[in-house]
């Protein structure tokens, strides 16, 4: 952990505040700029520490945005987490609430209906893309390709055909990986 002054904390908060408003498509899309700010510009974390922060959050339960909490913690402990999390969530929360109320009042207008009808196919396309981007590193790796492919296929089949909770699939994946099948 670093010697962080209160003006550093304020800078961290301010930077994440600005990034929050640019994070169309989720906080993960602003990772390159967080890296520039934390690793390159301020040298608060090394490259490896930065990457590990994101990996931990991916492995833990909860929304992916929690990697922001881990980054804050690794830079400056609890106050760092407070700075990065409030910075990341405040602007987008306010904007979301305002937008959802505005849209709900006008739900039946042609403009709002065209907006949601037009964007729905893109939303589903983005979900499929995300699935692909998550799967790709496993499928391109010769050592893990077939095990990962089997797990992905099993997951899709079970989700489409049964009402099993996804958590059981995660447990199967964890065990299969731990014993070396993936």
């Amino acid at each position: 952990m670093n010697d962080i002054t209160s003006s550093d904390l304020l800078g961290l908060f301010g930077h994440f505040l600005v990034l929050s408003l640019l994070a169309v498509g989720g906080a993960i899309t602003t990772v390159p700029d967080m890296h520039r700010f934390i690793v390159t510009e301020h040298r608060w974390l090394t490259d490896a520490q930065f990457t590990a922060s994101i990996a931990i959050a991916q492995a833990a339960p909860g929304p992916n945005v929690l990697f922001v909490a881990v980054l804050g913690w690794n830079v400056a402990g609890p106050l760092g987490t407070l700075a990065t999390m409030t910075g990341s969530l405040l602007p987008s929360t306010a904007l979301s609430l305002w937008a959802t109320r505005w849209g709900t009042q006008r739900r039946e207008t042609r403009g709002v209906r065209a907006f949601t009808a037009g964007l729905t196919p893109l939303t589903l396309g983005l979900l499929l893309s995300t699935g692909w981007v998550l799967a790709e590193p496993y499928l391109l790796n010769d050592a893990h390709r077939w095990g990962a492919l089997a797990l992905i296929a099993l997951t899709v089949a079970v989700m489409m055909r049964t009402k099993l909770s996804p958590i059981w699939l995660v447990v199967i994946g964890m065990v299969a990986g731990a014993v070396g099948w993936v």
Binding site: V24, G26, T29, T93, A117, L119, T123, V170
Partner: protein, 196 residues
């Protein structure tokens, strides 16, 4: 919760959360089941298990949270909570989504150094990662049926969806350009199809 659980509900079969407390608990539990992304669990719990939203309402909320800045599932929680109980509901759902998972991820951060090189741990993480990818793919495939009721018609919708996949997964076009460019075209098409 209704007795008939499982299949996606129709608009007249919907249940509603009873209190902010129930919202908080529901969002905590779905967030804690979400490894590598909460969206697949949110779809399963909110639509199929608790029947608080129809498939169409879920996709609509997702579409709106997608274009807003900020994490999609977090925006979705805020919108749903706000729709149920106003500002308090929004914060109950948000707190449920974030509070306990944040404590867990910070505890894991403290432990991580000891286990980072362990092959059993890295293998387990790899397996969980592959399942996470499958969960997201399945959610996308499952929600495709909502396009049948889209004002643009199924063929056009599938076309826009396919171009989105090509642009983002293959060409890696930044999301903001996909939304501003392709999204604007799709909204314009939907606008003309909705002509009164």
């Amino acid at each position: 919760m209704t007795t008939k659980t499982g299949a996606a509900p129709l608009a007249d079969e919907l249940a509603t959360p009873a209190s902010n407390r129930e919202l908080f608990i529901a969002f905590s539990s779905l967030s804690l089941q979400g490894f590598g992304g909460v969206l697949p669990v949110a779809q399963r719990v909110l639509v199929e298990r608790r029947r608080w939203l129809t498939k169409e309402q879920f996709v609509e909320m997702l579409a709106v949270s997608q274009v807003l800045p900020g994490p999609n599932v977090v925006n979705l929680a805020l919108m749903f909570g706000d729709r149920c109980f106003g500002l308090r509901g929004a914060f109950a759902a948000l707190a449920g989504m974030l509070l306990v998972p944040t404590l867990i991820v910070l505890a894991l951060t403290a432990l991580y150094g000891h286990f980072a090189q362990n092959p059993v741990v890295t293998g387990a993480l790899r397996g969980m990662g592959a399942v996470a990818a499958g969960l997201v793919l399945a959610t996308g495939l499952k929600l495709l049926t909502t396009l049948k009721r889209n004002a643009m018609g199924l063929p056009l919708c599938l076309g826009f969806g396919a171009v989105t996949v090509l642009a983002t997964a293959w060409l890696r076009v930044p999301l903001v350009w996909v939304i501003l460019g392709l999204g604007a075209v799709a909204i314009a098409v939907a606008w003309t199809r909705l002509r009164p």
